[in-house]
Each structure stands twice: as C-alpha cells, then as structure tokens.
C-alpha cells in the first residue's frame, strides 16, 4: 500500500514530542531549548527567521543552545545571516548546510567559515529566488519566526516589520511543517491577524523584544557636497529626462541625497507630481520631507524602519496599513513590485568593472545581495508599457517592428569614483572573481550584471549605457565617468569627447548644473532633528541618531 501521508505523520510526531513543553500553544522562553530539541530531527531544513531587519533572536539563542548530539546536520534556509547565533549553529555542528540571501554584519565570518569548510554552501540567492525555492525544493520542515504579539490560539500580529514572515509560514505550514513563533507579548486579542493561528503551532513569549536594526536611517548631517552634486545630476539627467514616477531606491547616502533634494532642487525644476510619485521602498526617514511636501502618492514597503511607526500610522494615504492602523509590509510582494512595477532602480555598489558588472563583495566578505538584484534587473516577463520603459527601450536600439521591441527598466548605479580610504570604485577586474576562484564557486557573486545596468552616475557625469552600440563604446563610456581612478585615467580622451557629443556621457555642465552650487543648504533636512520637525514630531529616531 502506498504511503501518501508520511510527512503529515512526521509532523504529528513532532507535535506530540513537543506538547509536554507547552501549555496549549504557549511555551515559556525558558523551555525553548526543550521545545526545539523535541521538534527538530537531524537533517531538517530549518528557516530561522533572520530578515533584513527583524530577527527571531530568542529562537536563535535557543537553537544555538541545543544539544548537537540530538540536533545536528540541519540545513538552514533563511534570507538573512545577521546574528552571531546564525553562524554559531554551524560551529557547534547543529547545522551543516546553508542557503541564504544576505549577510551584512556576518559577511566576514561566513567567508572564514566557508574557507574552513564549516559551512556547506548551497547558494547565495536573491530574496525572490530564495522565496521561490521555499515552494519548490527548499521547503522548510520547521520555521522559527518572529512577531510582535500572539493570542493563545497562535493568531499572530507581526507588527510593521512583517517582512518575510508570511512567505516563510506559507511554505512551511501548508507543506506539513511546524511553525514556531517568538513574540514579545501574549495578548488576549491581537491588534490585527497577520498570520492566522491555524498556521502557527507554538508561540514562545520571548524574554526580550526581538531585535531590529535601523538599517535605512541615513543621517542628513553626513550627506556630502559630492553626493548632492550626484543627486542633482540624477534628478535632472535621469528622473526628469525619463519622467520616472515608479521607482525603488537603494539605501546609500547618494539616494538619501536625492530624497532630500526633491522638495528643494526638484521643486525648483518644476518636477513635483511628474517624478517620484509611486515607490517600492522601506520607510526611509529621509523621504519624510518629500512626503510632507506632497511629492509622494504611495509607498509599499519591504519592512519597516525603527522610529517610523507613528509617522506611518498617521499617513495611511501614503503607506499600506492594516485595520489597526500600523504598517503592513511584505518583502516578497515588495520585491515583486520592485521587479515588475518600477521603472527605475537606483543604488550604489563597491566595484564596477569595464563592462559594467558590479559587486559589493570583497575577497574576505561574502555578504550576498539581498534584494538589490531583484530591483536592479530588467524583468523579461514585463508586458505593460510606460513612457519611461518605452523610451529606454528605444534608446537601447534594435531592429524590426517597434511594436515587437520590449522596453527597458532603468537600472542606475550611483557611485562615487573613490570610496573610503581612496579605494577606487572602478576596477579592471571585480574582487568577486577572485572570491569565486578561492571558494570554487561556479558563479561569481555579481550584484548587477552588465546587461542590466543602464546608467552610471558619478560626480564626473552620467554614462548612458543604453546608447552604446559597441563593447568599446561601453568601456569608454564607463571610463569617461570613472574620474581619477586608474580606469578613469586610462580613457581614450578623443573617444570620450565623441561620446559626450552623442550625449552618451553628460557632464554637470552639459546638464546645466554648476558643481559649485552643490551645497548642503540644498538639503530639505540637514539633520535627523530636521526630519523630526518635518514629521511634525511623529518620527522618533533611535538613540544613536539623536543629538539632543
């Protein structure tokens, strides 16, 4: 007789073993280790929710305290490797194999452990890719997630930082997996039900509220004149030129400068309502002045941002909010929105090569790219036109009936030619290639591929790669904005001037921008405190960003 319910039987056995440690669904923080040791089986695929922002830190501590004799050889499938415990489990032999997306703070340690063979690496994904594989071949057996509160039936309020949770739960709960949620509070009634209780098997009342890092807060006080100049060029030379309404921004200071220039420089150019109206974006504090000045129609968010909750709550016309009034974010949907519904992605990188491939990895850090490649790629599945998309498509050229030529998403790299400590951003060869060789990776970790990037903006000018017709032109267009780096000084001056005549390269003066006007007085907010004032006191910055 065929067995069609083996997975369900295993699930029942896990729950049976776990029940003695729970009161109904509720488990005290002190019993986490017992609970996890009861549920987990060697070789399980486990998603220990580590998102871009929120962390199931109580469960992470619990997992890393499990007895490796009982819990071992786990296969971790989670988007973020953020907490030390995320890697401790590999050192202790609790986990063995890893598929992930992003690892900012732990990038150097991951690299070391990969070199040392302590981690068996599946792949470094983009967010959407990893989420997709949750439903195909990386479905978790056990999901350890985080929320703000739950009732005793397991109905879960994720709070503004919903992030990955719905996706992880969807894949786990509907495929015979076990879902354990840590929450800050057990309540009689949750403010809203983000995850219905029948998808949550256990709720752990955490000893401390889950940790969230303020990743998207850029202090306007640190924005430089060079970043302002680049922001002016981006606004005038790209946003205005293509009429970009639907967009996503990276998290660097360059894009923060753009956000802070919209109500001042953008206003002066008469662009309000014509650009930057619809966003797939985390709630960046630096966008507050533009929102308050009426630039922004709506924003869908991947996650939230520390200190922005009350502001968002008071601006439901702009943000997606639940019946309780708080933000509803969702990383999978927002990534999809960024991929298919935005006409422009603009972000920064650490290295760009002569073809235009870019990467943020260096030889001793394996950070991954999270969502940037989803935003920073041209979706071949797109079928709806927009003026921006069609114009970019026309610039890219091609032959045949225009009605058969697809448009192009604008993918813009906003980079200063030299980074910290005079490290050049333009290189002949990406460090990613060296890393791939050392780790024996088939695929070098590239953030944005050359054939996706359409423009490069530096303090020297804008290179429009769509208009390049040969590889040689493309290389010279890149060299032509690479400033005084070796790559920049290696340019063919005559050819660069020819590209400039064809507007493939545009200098500030070609755009009618005087570099000496790039002054901090152009910023709509020059400090975190200004942002608070713009928000009418609704934005509550975390302690480390205050100077009052």
């Amino acid at each position: 007789m065929s067995q069609w319910q083996k997975e369900r039987d295993i699930r029942e056995a896990r729950l049976e073993r776990a029940r003695p440690h729970a009161d109904g669904k509720v488990v005290p923080a002190s019993r986490v280790v017992d609970l996890l040791e009861a549920i987990l089986q060697p070789g399980d695929r486990v998603c220990l929710e580590g998102d871009n922002q929120k962390q199931a830190d109580c469960l992470a501590r619990g997992l890393s305290a499990c007895d490796p004799a009982r819990v071992h050889d786990l296969h971790m499938v989670q988007s973020g490797i953020v907490l030390p415990e995320h890697l401790d489990v590999f050192e202790q032999g609790i986990a063995k194999r890893l598929d992930y997306s992003y690892s900012g703070p732990q990038g150097a340690r991951i690299a070391k452990m990969l070199y040392g063979g302590q981690i068996e690496l599946g792949a470094v994904h983009t967010y959407l890719e990893l989420f997709a594989r949750y439903f195909v071949d990386l479905t978790p057996n056990v999901a350890l997630i985080a929320g703000v509160s739950a009732d005793r039936d397991g109905n879960l309020y994720t709070g503004p930082n919903t992030e990955d949770t719905p996706t992880v739960v969807e894949a786990t709960a509907f495929k015979n997996g076990v879902v354990v949620a840590q929450v800050n509070d057990i309540v009689d009634r949750v403010p809203r039900v983000d995850i219905p209780g029948d998808r949550v098997d256990f709720v752990v009342e955490a000893d401390t509220p889950f940790y969230v890092e303020p990743l998207f807060t850029r202090d306007p006080a640190a924005v430089t004149e060079t970043q302002i100049l680049m922001a002016m060029m981006a606004i005038k030379g790209i946003y205005a030129a293509y009429g970009i309404r639907r967009l996503n921004h990276g998290i660097g200071f360059g894009t923060a400068a753009i956000e802070l220039l919209l109500p001042t420089y953008g206003e002066r150019l008469g662009l309000k309502g014509r650009i930057a109206t619809h966003w797939a974006l985390n709630p960046h504090p630096s966008l507050i002045p533009a929102i308050e000045s009426g630039w922004v129609k709506q924003i869908h968010c991947f996650g939230s941002e520390v200190g922005m909750d009350n502001y968002i709550r008071a601006r439901p016309d702009v943000f997606f909010t639940g019946s309780d009034g708080s933000l509803r974010s969702n990383r999978a949907f927002c990534q999809t929105a960024g991929l298919y519904a935005c006409d422009l992605f603009i972000g920064s990188t650490l290295q760009i090569d002569l073809q235009g491939h870019s990467s943020t990895v260096t030889t001793n850090r394996v950070a991954g790219f999270g969502g940037a490649p989803n935003m920073g790629s041209d979706p071949h599945g797109r079928r709806h036109p927009s003026d921006t998309w069609m114009k970019a498509g026309r610039e890219a050229g091609g032959t045949g009936d225009p009605a058969l030529r697809r448009g192009r998403k604008l993918v813009v790299q906003l980079v200063e030619t030299f980074g910290d400590k005079l490290v050049p951003a333009f290189v002949e060869r990406l460090d990613a290639l060296e890393l791939a060789r050392k780790l024996n990776l088939e695929l070098a970790p590239v953030m944005v591929y050359a054939d996706d990037v359409t423009h490069i903006v530096t303090e020297e000018g804008i290179a429009n790669l769509l208009l390049c017709r040969t590889l040689d032109e493309r290389e010279q267009a890149i060299r032509g904005v690479a400033g005084y780096t070796d790559v920049g000084r290696g340019r063919d001056h005559a050819m660069v001037e020819a590209l400039r005549a064809r507007k493939i390269i545009q200098r500030p003066e070609d755009l009618g921008i005087e570099p000496l006007d790039a002054d901090r007085s152009l910023l709509a907010a020059r400090s975190i405190k200004d942002l608070v004032h713009w928000s009418g006191g609704l934005y509550e910055p975390p302690a480390k960003f205050r100077n009052w």
Binding site: T224, T226, T417, R489, A518
Partner: protein, 103 residues
C-alpha cells in the same frame, strides 16, 4: 606625509583682483586650499602637503585638469590635505578659483 609641487603655464590670467582667498578645512578626507595672486599672469604653481603618500599621479591629473578648465594664471595655490578624494580636491580648487574671481 608627502610634498608635491606642480608648475603650469596658462593662456590667461584668472580674472579678479583679490589678493588671496582660503577655502576648506584640513580634516580626514578634506583639505584646505590657499590661493594667492602673486605670480606672472601666465603662471600657476601648486604646492601640496598631503597626509596620504603615493597618489602623485592622481594629484598631477587633478591639478592639470583644474588648470586647463579654470586657467588660474597668476596664482600660487597651496594645499594642506587630510587625505581628500580627488573629487573633493577638484571641488575645493573650483571653489577657491571662484572666490578669487569675486570682486
């Protein structure tokens, strides 16, 4: 620290009559530029004291571009550099030239 010195001939003198001007502050990644109108109208001298050694070729290129663009004839330009990036150097040089052109 490294000292660098460049001399250039210019086609014209920098407009204006101001005798001297200063812009910028010596700090990490920043620099100060002192401009003095005390040379022949077709000559420009640039003296640099930089915190980071080994970037002579980059400085040479930055200064040559500045001289070609602004034609700072007549100026001695003295720089105290705290390790500024070339774009910051270009910006300060341009700011300095503009100050010297002011009435």
């Amino acid at each position: 620290m490294e000292k660098l010195s460049f001399r250039h001939a210019t086609r014209t003198a920098l407009p204006g009559t101001r005798a001297s001007a200063i812009t910028g502050v010596v700090a990490s990644g920043n620099l100060e530029v002192l401009l003095e109108r005390n040379l022949a109208p077709d000559a420009c001298r640039v003296e640099i004291d930089t915190a980071i050694a080994g970037y002579g070729a980059v400085w040479a290129a930055v200064v040559a571009d500045f001289v070609a663009r602004r034609q700072p004839g007549g100026l001695t330009i003295t720089i105290n550099d705290g390790g500024a990036r070339p774009d910051t150097v270009s910006l300060r040089l341009a700011q300095g030239a503009r100050l010297m052109e002011m009435p």
